[in-house]
Subunit: 131 residues, 2 copies
């Protein structure tokens, strides 16, 4: 028997390209880990599997986060904003590394004295993660 039509997914306002921006936040610490995009299929797979699946705009395909690195994201909560055009994923980051640079978060730089200063250490070298 086919699944019931997912009316909730039709409440999302997609971009002209069929995408929605997604913020991934650590469900325990509240730290923002990364920002990416989903299309409808990515969101459906995310809900079905409980692991974050994005749409990679550079590669033009679904991207199961952690497929290479093992650093998958277990989804604890999916939130939608008032305009229905931004999604917030509350996740558990396996391996505690969300960024391809080997850091916990992609937001590892902050503006200080007119410069982007790095505040976070590399936890594991990308060579080791992807090698």
């Amino acid at each position: 028997m086919p699944d019931a039509p997912a009316a909730w997914i039709d409440e999302i306002t997609w971009t002209a390209d069929g995408l929605v921006p997604v913020i991934a936040q650590d469900h325990e610490t509240g730290r923002i880990l990364m920002f990416a995009w989903m299309n409808r299929a990515a969101l459906e797979q995310t809900v079905a599997t409980g692991e974050a699946v994005y749409f990679s705009r550079s590669r033009g395909r679904l991207w199961h986060k952690g497929e290479q690195s093992g650093h998958v994201q277990r989804v604890h909560d999916i939130r939608l904003d008032c305009d229905g055009d931004v999604i917030l994923l509350c996740i558990e980051q396996i391996g505690h590394i969300a960024c391809h640079t080997g850091r916990e978060s992609c937001f590892y730089r902050h503006l200080h004295n007119n410069e982007w200063q790095i505040t976070d250490p590399v936890l594991k070298s990308p060579d080791e993660i992807y090698g």
Copy 2:
């Protein structure tokens, strides 16, 4: 004497429309309050004034958050992601209401039993805020 050229702003990767997505996070609680966009002028004003200034795509103009409601956002930290194309603002939300619906956060719904369920109360009616 003119200001020195802001090299840090040129490290940002802007969209074809000259925008960058911005996540606003409560600097104390870590709660994600809203998501919006900035152009170069908005970011420059944000840095210069210490209060969040966005670019409203619907109105096609700079939008000093709180200009009508008084719910301005005092900026505590400005972070940039690994690709240089997403900004994270850590802010203090004056009035504790970021959403135009009168809620603390725009992300006041979550997916539960295939429905977007409202989890957050309206703290102040929009009529009262904008009336």
